[in-house]
Structures are given as structure tokens and as C-alpha cells.
Point group: C2
Chain length 423, copies 2
């Protein structure tokens, strides 16, 4: 069987389960989730053995230690995955929820009801926990899922999916609802995301390159996730103590994630009073600060002589690291315009005590999440109280910001008549 | 200026207006809609003159009379467009609606609020009324719109957009919010739908070829509209009088539209009692009936000797014409399986008096609209009570079925804090 046939066979097998999946009860799905968690533990030896081989091969082929860390499974990580599945079992089931009822003058009763998408294709990189996460979230929402993880994690993913399917054996869930593309050819991704009649939705999770590739080649609807060039604007009327706390949190608490701050915008009045000390505190925590000429001047006056100049490119960069671009702006208008130009519509924050300024910022900034007096780090399905997260959408179609269970569903209209025809 | 620069300049101009558009009040938008309607009337001479040229050129280049009919403007049609704009002014404004409020234990207040998409690209064919419709729907929802109509309607569209912009002159709406790609090169479509940073959503409206082209080439999110290979299943326990009415309505009331029935599925018991007479009634109304071998036999026994055989291809075809494929099935299960195989997830109906059978069909059939005892012809924004329609989505992402004003909006999360940081 060729690559194309092999990939399509898996998508077809997944598709065939969708009718059954859509009619499972919440209890049946929850039972399957708990059994999947148990099966991970039961099959742990096989999982760790497979993961050990993946790690060994990755190390031999010179993969960076950061990526190997993402790849490696420990007992703690396995337990976290199991706990994740059990938590998903505890969440409310969105499928079947009645979203709206319309009664028409002609007697037709139109009900808008949440339904699963059908088949979701997940394309991701080296973290094997995404395999378990995606399987759990898809199952709870009545979706079949075709997984295509990173090639370094292939053996781990095969072992994990075998374990999860082992868990499904005594449940109402068909084993074919969970599919893994177990080849490493890059074309397998393209075949999957172009299978228009088989796949209802593709979700890429990973670096910008992966997301770009999926966006460009897909023929099925895609939810774009991830890139976050996030800003915090510190206004003239900010509570500077609050601003300091928020800036340190947004930049340093976990710099490698998409909701971390990449550029700080500072009102010129705030810059004079507060910026030099803020720069000092950032540098003290290991942050490399790059600034506009005004930032450089203020820093120089306070003894920091060699602050690098932030170029255009800095403002456009998602560092995902302990690096921060700083720009002094003359007002909130300039801050909003800067965000409009360089932002990626992810998370943007203002720190100010002025409600009018705050309202203008919240209204006019185009982003999934806009914050007043809080850190951008809260853009997250768990922090929003969704109980789960499949990713953070940076597009505007269907889902924006953190995507939980509800965002993995579509809807249909069920119309009940007594013989109505159109006149 | 090259084609690419010309198209991108228009998209950029539209993009620049989005911040203002998003903050307009409902009153400001409604005033603009009414003034746009007035301006169509004020500029009617220019509009009819331009349209006359389009019609003349189309006729000279051998365009079919059906397409010329879609292209030609009359005073009645102009008045309908004006009335359409005034109706949109009367509809509820979805922008700013609070969809959900989440209060977190840490004190964060998260509000999910409806917002415009930003810039919508509309790609359509020869009907000039889509120009006015799309402009009105986009404006009411706070979106800028870049229109790319069919080349036969170019002069008409230029005149219509000039008239609409004339109407905007004394309003709060920036003229640049309404853009028309006034060239006929097909590449202009590709440039528009690949302008990822400028266009937030593309909506193709027209034939299967146009939709396919947009889906394949777009880099921006697309809502797929249109193709409807719709079925009505007449069960053994149907009220045959009701079934007859529904079948005639679904096939003959307006066969050229996407929600018309293309294949009738009949339970074998219903087939024996009711099908021959139904075929007679359909043929009497000019419908060409093509059937499976069982349909042929039943027809033959009643004197209809030459009923053509329905091939595989017939079941896969959206005729949009007075042609109907018929298939006798052994039960609702076979009907659902047939729809799963050949349906386009648009509109599907069952006629039965058995509630259990009906519920199975409504639950298991995967389509935007599933009907019990009613005609498929009701899948329409006006019939659903939305007051407007930009198209009918056949995909599952974001909007499914008829799309009204709400479906032209996205949302954002507004988060209010008192200095919260993530621990």
C-alpha cells in the first residue's frame, strides 16, 4: 500500500466511526476516558521502552537537549497524562447542548444543537503528551481524531495509541475513532489535510513553520494556533507598582510560551519616572532589554550605557526567550497603532488607572484577549476556567483565543414540521 | 501600478478603516444604510446606463440568456436592493453583544464580546444585487468589505459602489470601508484571498468551480457555501399525502437553488403503495425521473415503460434542474448510509409518522439542516427568521447552514483585573 492509500485508509476508518461517536452518551464517553487512563498505566513498560528508543535515536542524531526534554517521558509525566484524561471525564459534555430554539410563524420548530465536527486531524511536533491530550479531548467531544505527531516521537506515539486503544477495548467507543499516522514522510501531512471529504477540521500545534505549512496546503478548514507577539502598554496613569509586577510576570514567569510579553510599550511620562528602574529589575532577572532611542537615553542617564537598539525586526519578533523590546510612545493612540502593526492578535494588555483610556484600548485593540491591569499570561484554557485546552486560536473564524471542549464542536439545525412546504 | 499592488492597495485601505468601523454605534451604521439606499435611487441613471452596457457586451459575447437575466437590472430590482438595505437597518446589531461572563476565583472578570471580523473578501459571479447585499450586511456588522464580482457585471458594480459611496459621504462610515476590485483578471481573486494580514475572512458565492478555486487557493479562512445535494427520505410510516406535498415542493417549487431536493429515497413498503403515483405527479410537472431498478420495475407495472436508470453519478449530482434521482431502500438505515455517501451536508429530510425513526434520522444524519416532515426548501436565512442571508455554509467551522448577521461576527475576550499575575 502506498503512502497516500495508507493515510487515506486511516482517515476513512476514522470517518466510519463518526456516526456512532456522535450518538454516544456522556457516561459511555467518560467510562472510555477513565479506561484509557488505566490502560496507560497498565502498558507503561511498553511506553517507556518505546520512548527510551525515541530519546536514544534523537540524541544520536544530534537533536537539541531542549527538544529531547520535550520528548522524554517520565513516570510523573505519564501520571500527568492519566490525570488529564480523568479531568476531561469530569468536564461537562458539550455535545447535544441546545443553543437556540426558533419557533416560526408557519409552525416550524428550529433547534440549533451542538454536534461533533466528525474527524479532526491533529498535526503536532515532539511532545508525546499531545497524543494523549488530543485523544481525550476528541473523544469527549464525540470526534474521531487522526494524529500526526513529530517523527522523533513516533515510537512513543505508537505505544501510547496502542495503550489508549487497549483501554477502549471493553467500551462503546470504536477503536478506529483513534488513528495515528505511523509514518514519518512529510507528505503524509499534506495528504491528510487535503482529504476534504474525510477530514472536517485540521488543527496544527507547534512552531510557526509547521503552522504555516498546514495553512498553505490544507483543503480542509484549519484553526490557526499559536504565534503570540504580545504587548503590555504601561500608561502615564498606571499604578507603577502594579505595572512592575505585571511586566515581570508577563516576561519572566515562563518566557517560552505564546502568551508571554515580547514588547513593552511605555507612555513617555511613565518612561521618565519608572522605566529606568524597570529596566534594572528586568536585567537583574536575566532579561536582555532592547530599546528605542528614547529608552536608550533614559537608560544611559541611569548608568546603563550599552542598551542595544531595538530595530523594526525586534518589534516583529516573537522571542519566546528572556529578551524584551521596549518602545516609548506618546499616548495610548500610538500604543494601539504599534500593536495594530506588529501584534499577532493574541493577547494585549494595558496598565492604567484611567478608565477612559482603558476602555479605548480594550475596544480598539484587535486581539483574542485584551487585558486591563492583568498579565497576558492568563490567556489559557485552564486559566479561563474551560478545564482543558487544545490550543489558542489566533484567527477569528469559529474559535478565538483558548479553545476548550466547546470549541471542538460544531452545530446543526434540527427542524420539526407537520408537513410544511415553502410557498 | 501592477495588478498585485492595485488589489493589495484596496485591501490595505479597507483594513485601515476597521478600527473606526468596530466602534461605530448602531445608529451611525443604520443611518449610513438608509443613506446608501437613497443614493442608489439618486444615482439610478448612471447605474442603469452602466448595466445596459454590461448587458449589451454580454449579449455580444454570447453569454446565455439565463446569465443575462441574472445580470440585468430593472427598476423593480433596484427597488428591491434599496428595500434590502433598509431591512438590514431594521435588524438587531450583533456587534458588542456580551456572549458570556466568566468570573474567576482570582478576581479576573472575563467577558466574551461579539466583534466584527475586520475585512471580509466577497468573491461572486454575475448578480449585481450581491454587491449591494454584501455591502449592507458588512456595514451593519462593522466589517470592511472588498468585493470581487463577476467580470460581466463590472460596469454595473462600479456604478453601484460609486452610488453606495456617494451615500456614505455625509455619514460616520469611512468610504474606504467599501472596496471594489475593478479589474477582470482572474489572478486578482488569488491575490485577494492570499492577503493573509489584510483579509480576515473570504466568502465565495457562486458555482462549484468558483468555490473550489477559492478553497484551494486561499490563505485566509474561507466559509464554503452552496453545493446542496439534498435528499428526502419517505419512510414506510409516512403520511403519503404529506409526503406528496413535500416532494413536489422540494423538487419543483424552485429547482435551481441549493436547498431543492436532488434525490428521493423511498422505503420499499412506501414504494409499492405510493411511488408510482408520485412519479406520475412529478412527470406531469415536467420532472425527469431517473430511478434504481426497483423504481423502474414499479414504474413499468404502472405503464411507465421507459424510466431511465439512475447511475451512481446521478446520485452524486446536484442537478439544479427538473431532474430527480429515485432510490428504493430497505430501511432508514440504508437511507442514512446513502445520504452519508452522497450528501453534501446541506439539507436532508425524513417524512414519517414514527417518532423513533425520525429521531434516529435527525440524530445520525450529518447535515447543516435536518428536517422531519417539512420541505428542504426552508434552509434559508429569511425562512429561519434571521432577516438576512449572506450564504449557506456547508462546512462545519464557525457557521453552518444559513448565515445571517451574527455569522458575520467573531468575538474577543475582554479581561478586567486589579493587577493579577500568574503564579
Amino acid at each position: 500500500m502506498g503512502l497516500r492509500e495508507a493515510v487515506l485508509a486511516k482517515a476513512k476508518a476514522a470517518k466510519r466511526t463518526t456516526r456512532v461517536l456522535g450518538t454516544l452518551s456522556t457516561e459511555q464517553k467518560n467510562e472510555a476516558l477513565l479506561k484509557m487512563a488505566d490502560a496507560l498505566w497498565r502498558n507503561r513498560d511498553a511506553i517507556f521502552a518505546a520512548n527510551g528508543e525515541d530519546v536514544k535515536e534523537a540524541r544520536e542524531s544530534g537533536v537539541s537537549e531542549a527538544r529531547i526534554d520535550r520528548l522524554a517521558l517520565t513516570e510523573k509525566r505519564l501520571r500527568e497524562m492519566m490525570e488529564g484524561l480523568r479531568q476531561i471525564a469530569g468536564l461537562e459534555d458539550p455535545v447535544g447542548e441546545s443553543l437556540e430554539t426558533i419557533r416560526r410563524p408557519n409552525g416550524l420548530l428550529i433547534e440549533k444543537v451542538r454536534v461533533p465536527f466528525g474527524v479532526i486531524a491533529m498535526v503536532y511536533e515532539s511532545r508525546p503528551n499531545v497524543t494523549v491530550d488530543a485523544a481525550g479531548l476528541a473523544l469527549k467531544t464525540g470526534n474521531a481524531v487522526v494524529l500526526r505527531g513529530g517523527k522523533e516521537a513516533l515510537k512513543s506515539n505508537i505505544a501510547l495509541v496502542e495503550a489508549l486503544q487497549d483501554g477502549l477495548k471493553q467500551t462503546a467507543v470504536p477503536l478506529d475513532a483513534l488513528q495515528l499516522i505511523d509514518c514519518t514522510e512529510r507528505e503524509s501531512v499534506d495528504i491528510l489535510i487535503r482529504a476534504k471529504d474525510l477530514v472536517d477540521l485540521a488543527i496544527p500545534r507547534g512552531g510557526a513553520g509547521l503552522i504555516q505549512r498546514v495553512m498553505e496546503n490544507s483543503l480542509v478548514p484549519v484553526i490557526e494556533t499559536g504565534v503570540g507577539n504580545c504587548h503590555v502598554y504601561v500608561d502615564a496613569e498606571a499604578d507603577y507598582e502594579m505595572a512592575t509586577k505585571i511586566i515581570l510576570n508577563a516576561k519572566t514567569q515562563r518566557p517560552s510560551v505564546c502568551n508571554a510579553m515580547e514588547t513593552m510599550l511605555v507612555h513617555e511620562q511613565a518612561a521618565k519616572k519608572w522605566l529606568p528602574n524597570m529596566i534594572y529589575l528586568l536585567q537583574e532577572r536575566g532579561v536582555e532589554v532592547r530599546g528605542c532611542t528614547k529608552t536608550q537615553e533614559l537608560a544611559k542617564a541611569c548608568g546603563c550605557l550599552n542598551l542595544p537598539l531595538a530595530a523594526e525586526e525586534d518589534y516583529a519578533t516573537e522571542y519566546l526567550d528572556l529578551v524584551l523590546a521596549v518602545k516609548v510612545v506618546s499616548d495610548v493612540e500610538e500604543a494601539i497603532a504599534h500593536i495594530e502593526r506588529f501584534g499577532t492578535r493574541h493577547s494585549e494588555a494595558i496598565v492604567t488607572g484611567n478608565q477612559v483610556t482603558a476602555d479605548k484600548f480594550l475596544r480598539e485593540v484587535d486581539a483574542a484577549a485584551v487585558y486591563h491591569n492583568a498579565s497576558t499570561r492568563f490567556t489559557d484554557g485552564f486559566e479561563f476556567g474551560f478545564g482543558a485546552e487544545i490550543g489558542i486560536s489566533t484567527q477569528k473564524l469559529h474559535a478565538r483565543g483558548p479553545m476548550g471542549l466547546r470549541e471542538l464542536t460544531s452545530y446543526k439545525y434540527i427542524i420539526k414540521g407537520q408537513g410544511q412546504i415553502r410557498g
